[in-house]
């Protein structure tokens, strides 16, 4: 069976999967409806300062699993919904950034620099149209790169990397993530080490669950949802609540500026913006393909590169004074990260950002799909169901892009009112939602306490400038790292130097050391 056949099976899995309902005799596929619902929800969430895509994904996951169950049929509707949220939230983040000078998501900060001045000049709708055009372009480009590159990379990994090399690749990925996220390699390694230690509590091959202090509570290990949601979501909620407590930001009511003049985005505008969009899309895709480097850096680089070109051309208005090119450069860059971020997930099984973490969590909970190089086995005689799901996932992404190009703009422009929801009311509700969703999955109060405990850890890490993402990624990859290492050790006949005997593995280990040393030479500001 060739790859084209698998592409076709993936499309069929989406369109001929379970039906939601029939309209005038026409069946509406469940996956299609879920992508649309997730996408619209994502725009609403992104438009709400204080909420973020990962929060919505975290809250939605247990509900989705309750609705769809644990069968392989559940995978595509659940993935479709989560991918919809991921894409919609990136787009929605621009809304409050442009209308109220408040970025809905951290990566939309650079959008405020030109978006809000355009609003003040009475061109808010035009600014939103620029953001939508650039975001949809960057996102689509990134998805095409993902669909082309991920299978090839996965096939290369499966063909040329054996167990020692795979172990070394995991070490390299973790070292890279620890070094590049945030501004301090030392803090990145601390986050990584803590995440690995947490992953090893209550696990192991012996009858006695290691590091469990002899207690039944720790013998089961930490529930993955409690750790991920605790550190990523609850920690962020605690920090934001404290910001409100100390700064009383909520007392500021966003002010609207009267709008006037031509609000349309003309063909000539698009042609003028295209070079900025194209350059930023390439930058964002390249950054997104590397695990751990987030969309905020992509937006910053895209904006900086666009500003240099704009200054050279001498066009006005300048960047920072309401230039549509500034919005285009930022939005294309941050949106093109989301698709490319799935390259390491699908080809290597390594999550690169918070959204990818939730996709892995969904796959892990439902079962039947293990993201990694083994997914892309193009079997000749029997159908590889994981590969069908992978191409189904790509189909979902393209459907989300289609929705983005068609209804995304209008829906996004109608979401301005979301910025008015007071954060001090929203955040406690998000916390209650998150903790309830944990209890629904685990059905024990201990899980809620674990979540709060990891939330406190996430809060402390944020206050100390330690990025929580290496912690979460290390927690997820910890078991895989140990298992691959054990297998490699056994396969090499108990060779203690198995990581150094193969040239490729030795190269990966050397690169791990180099990336840490290079990061150490240039301490930067923290970018959390």
């Amino acid at each position: 069976m060739g790859w084209l056949y698998y592409v076709w099976l993936g499309i069929l899995a989406v369109f001929q999967g379970p039906e939601l309902l029939t309209v005038f005799g026409l069946p509406i596929p469940m996956t299609l409806a879920m992508v649309a619902a997730g996408f619209l929800l994502g725009i609403a969430v992104g438009s709400t300062p204080g909420l973020a895509g990962p929060m919505a994904m975290a809250i939605a996951l247990p509900i989705l699993i309750s609705v769809f169950g644990f069968s392989p049929d559940a995978l595509l509707p659940v993935f479709g919904f989560l991918i919809g949220i991921m894409k919609g939230a990136t787009l929605g983040g621009a809304v409050p950034a442009i209308l109220f000078n408040t970025p809905g998501t951290p990566d939309a900060y650079m959008t405020t620099l030109d978006g809000y001045p355009m609003t003040q000049n009475g061109q808010a709708k035009k600014a939103l149209r620029v953001a939508h055009f650039s975001s949809a372009s960057g996102d689509t480009f990134s998805d095409i790169v993902l669909i082309v590159c991920a299978p090839f990379l996965a096939v290369l990994v499966e063909r040329y990397l054996d167990l020692p090399e795979k172990t070394a690749l995991l070490i390299l990925s973790l070292a890279f993530i620890a070094s590049v996220i945030g501004g301090s390699v030392g803090k990145g390694l601390i986050s990584l080490g803590l995440g690995l230690i947490a992953a090893y509590v209550g696990t192991g091959e012996d009858f006695y669950p290691r590091l469990s202090l002899g207690t039944e509570t720790l013998a089961q290990g930490f529930p993955i949802a409690a750790v991920v949601l605790g550190v990523l979501i609850v920690g962020e909620v605690f920090k934001s609540l404290e910001d409100l407590w100390t700064e009383a930001r909520y007392r500021r009511t966003p002010q609207e500026t009267p709008q006037s003049g031509d609000q349309s985005l003309h063909w000539a505008d698009m042609r003028r913006l295209f070079p900025y969009v194209a350059r930023s899309a390439v930058i964002g895709t390249m950054i997104g393909a590397l695990p751990g480097i987030g969309s905020t850096l992509a937006a910053t680089l895209g904006y900086t590169t666009g500003r240099a070109r704009h200054a050279k051309s001498g066009a006005s208005p300048r960047f920072g004074k309401g230039a549509a090119e500034g919005i285009a450069a930022t939005e294309a860059a941050n949106s093109s990260v989301s698709g490319a971020n799935l390259i390491p997930v699908l080809s290597l099984g390594i999550p690169g950002n918070a959204a990818a973490v939730f996709l892995i969590l969904a796959a892990d909970t439902i079962g039947g799909f293990n993201p990694g190089p083994s997914v892309f086995r193009f079997t000749a005689d029997t159908v590889n169901p994981e590969l069908v799901i992978a191409f189904g996932l790509f189909t979902c992404m393209m459907i989300a892009n289609l929705l983005n190009w068609t209804i995304g703009g209008a829906f996004m422009r109608s979401m301005g009112f979301m910025s008015r929801i007071p954060k001090q009311l929203l955040l406690p509700v998000v916390l209650l939602l998150t903790l309830s969703s944990i209890y629904v999955q685990e059905t024990r109060m201990e899980a809620i306490w674990f979540t709060v405990g990891f939330g406190v850890l996430g809060y402390i890490m944020r206050r100390l400038g330690i990025s929580p993402l290496p912690f979460v990624i290390a927690f997820i990859l910890g078991g895989k790292l140990e298992e691959t290492g054990r297998q490699a050790f056994a396969a090499t006949g108990g060779d203690a130097f198995f990581l150094l005997n193969s040239p490729v593995a030795a190269l990966f280990v050397a690169l791990s050391a180099i990336v840490i040393l290079l990061s150490l030479r240039k301490p930067k500001e923290h970018r959390s």
Partner: protein, 181 residues
């Protein structure tokens, strides 16, 4: 750029924690060592992976304490700790209400206690409704620095909405505390 005492303290604290984990916790709380011989074959023991994890922690702590000179320094202030304490107190009160209100009331008012009633209205919602409302109202009051009826009503509405989302459509999903009793 300069060394900062907060960074030095964090780095040294992590070094101490890593040594504690590697030299005391792991050896005392794992039944196999770093490398084991099982049926004349060498295998990796349960202690190796956590020891490597402690190694990452140690390396990170040492780099932070000795090598890095960050431009910005973050530290936990007393104000941070005070906020955290208030937050935990509010959550503890809310979780206590969530976990024990139903069982205590059922134990007082009925003969059979909470367990036979845990799938009946209003008992099965009592703890979640009161605890959830208290949590949202308490945290809103913390953020606003004053208790408001708006916070209470939002909390009540959120708890009711969650009951509608999780409990009404699904028989197999349990809200707190019904999985524990």
């Amino acid at each position: 750029m300069r060394f900062d005492r907060a960074n030095l303290a964090l780095g040294l604290g992590c070094v101490a924690l890593a040594l504690l984990v590697a030299l005391i916790w792991i050896p005392m709380d794992s039944t196999t060592g770093l490398i084991e011989k099982v049926r004349r074959r060498m295998t990796i023991g349960d202690a190796l992976a956590p020891t490597l994890a402690a190694g990452f922690l140690l390396l990170g702590g040492m780099l932070l304490a000795l090598a890095e000179r960050p431009k910005t320094v973050r530290r936990l202030s007393l104000k941070n700790l005070a906020f955290l304490l208030m937050l935990i107190v509010i959550l503890a009160v809310a979780f206590t209400l969530m976990r024990w209100l139903g069982p205590v009331l059922a134990g007082t008012l009925t003969e059979g206690g909470y367990r036979p009633l845990r799938d009946t209205v209003p008992w099965k919602y009592l703890g979640f409704l009161v605890g959830g409302t208290a949590m949202v109202a308490g945290l809103t009051a913390l953020a606003e620095r004053r208790m408001t009826w708006r916070g209470v009503l939002i909390g009540l509405a959120a708890a009711l909405a969650l009951i509608a989302v999780y409990d009404l459509p699904f028989d197999d999903l349990l809200l707190p505390p019904n999985g524990d009793v």
